[in-house]
């Protein structure tokens, strides 16, 4: 069974792959109740669930936590063998009974293995979270161009306008306010040009004293030990 290829497919929108052993569980019942369709698959490797947005879930129950050790080996194998490109999540039942082991669990899962740990109170909470992970954040095909579904936490990579940032930086030069900074950048359009301008070149714009001061600021020693 070790040689069986792990299923790499991502379930279609609205569906979750689950392993057979979950068939009659409260978690599955409650997912179904929430409108999620379940496809049972026994080729998920060590994962219990595959979700439409390319994440997989390993579920560690209260019982596993309290019984100890067995789940640790499983977690390590989960990390080492998981399907390529999937985000690996570990759901851990944090209950009154398993609470005392949670610290050690977190150390192993997050610090040692670098996986994502999400505590849940039980199968009901887990199903709510799985439905959330698998469904609400996946854009259904009909809404691909819709707005409002995008992740607010995803860093926008579109380039910012740099001009105001350059202007703000130049105003960190002592004696240079907004007016002088604008005048300087009108003549020397980049920080590098401004930095390398001779005092004589700065003088017509800001006057002699400020010209000396600006030039001095850029070239005065800052290194340690001076």
């Amino acid at each position: 069974m070790e040689t069986k290829a792990v299923l790499n497919a991502v379930p279609p929108y609205g569906h979750v792959f689950a392993t057979e052993k979950w068939r009659n569980s409260p978690l599955i019942q409650s997912l179904k109740g929430g409108g999620v369709r379940i496809l049972f698959e026994d080729e998920l490797g060590l994962a219990d669930f595959h979700l439409p947005n390319k994440s997989c879930v390993l579920y560690v129950s209260e019982c596993d936590v309290v019984a100890g050790n067995g789940y640790k080996r499983k977690l390590v194998r989960y990390r080492n063998t998981s399907s390529h490109g999937f985000q690996e999540l570990v759901l851990v039942e944090k209950t009154r009974l398993s609470e005392q082991y949670f610290g050690a669990m977190q150390k192993l899962v997050v610090f040692d293995l670098g996986l994502t740990l999400l505590p849940v109170g039980g199968q009901a909470e887990a199903s709510q979270l799985i439905a959330q992970i698998g469904l609400t954040l996946t854009v259904p095909p009909s809404q691909v161009h819709g707005v409002g579904r995008e992740n607010p936490f995803r860093r926008r990579t579109s380039s910012r306008l740099l001009d105001p940032l350059v202007l703000a930086l130049v105003q960190h030069v002592p004696g240079v306010g907004r007016v002088k900074a604008l005048a300087l950048l009108e003549r020397f359009s980049s920080i590098q040009q401004l930095c390398n301008a001779a005092p004589a070149q700065l003088e017509p714009i800001v006057g002699q004293a400020a010209a000396q001061q600006i030039h001095g600021f850029f070239h005065k020693d800052t290194a340690a030990g001076t």
Binding site: T136, R155, L167, H172, Q192, C195
Partner: protein, 236 residues
């Protein structure tokens, strides 16, 4: 020969954390393995290495819909200047005498968690200030083991060097540790401005991509039209 005890790790704490995190700060100070340095960062977070920032939030913070936008802005800001961002989710404090009952798990809480995970933030879970302090030290230690610990001197003496540090902090995507490294490793601001990408990468103790961004920024040719239209003085 027994192994020498590891050098204490350094954790930078934003001065804003002191007001609402006195218990956490004193736990951190008590912990033998860490030196705490308070400085003025641009938000209430902790720096545990040159590339990792950590922020603590209460569970109820994450569960409240009205906090979502602010949280997203903060996390985005941190993801801009750190390779790794860690959120420590702390259990809400119960008042003495009040029965401790787990808060109702809301859909908003679940969707915030999910969004954070998808955005690449790391989550850690804590039962209180004491545990949060332990997690911060643990993070710093892990980063130190990976060769990412904060080793640059934290003191910046003299007015001119303070001013230079402030200027470095206004570079895009530069965090406090990068700025400190630059102020210690470059002879002058002019030296940084005229340095190659490789020299910026080395002197700023930063990734190649970040060094390239700074290199380009220093040579970026402004257009006064865009400077005048924007009222935003400082956006980062």
């Amino acid at each position: 020969r027994p192994a020498a005890p590891p050098a204490p790790v350094c954790i930078l704490v934003d001065s804003r954390c002191i007001g609402n995190g006195a218990e956490l700060i004193s736990s951190l100070r008590r912990s033998a393995g860490a030196t705490v340095h308070v400085c003025s960062l641009d938000g209430g977070y902790f720096i545990v290495s040159g590339r990792m920032a950590a922020e603590r939030h209460s569970q109820s913070d994450l569960a409240a819909m009205q906090n979502r936008k602010r949280l997203a802005e903060r996390v985005n800001g941190l993801l801009g200047s750190f390779e790794r961002v860690c959120l420590i989710v702390e259990k809400d404090r119960t008042k003495p005498g009040e029965a401790s009952r787990p808060p109702q798990r809301t859909r908003c809480y679940d969707s915030t968690l999910t969004a954070l995970v998808r955005a690449g933030a790391r989550l850690l879970w804590s039962d209180g200030a004491e545990q949060t302090a332990g997690l911060l030290v643990e993070l710093a230690r892990l980063e130190q083991r990976k060769g990412q610990g904060i080793t640059v001197p934290l003191e910046v003496k003299g007015q001119h060097r303070q001013q230079a540090l402030q200027l470095y902090l206004s570079l895009p995507s530069v965090n406090y540790v990068h700025a400190l490294s630059m102020s210690h490793n470059f002879r002058s601001i002019g030296h940084l401005v005229n340095s190659s990408v490789e020299a910026i990468e080395k002197g700023g103790c930063m990734s190649r991509a970040r060094a390239e961004e700074i290199y380009r920024f220093l040579r970026y040719s402004c257009d006064s039209v865009f400077m005048n239209t924007s009222k935003a003085g400082k956006t980062s």
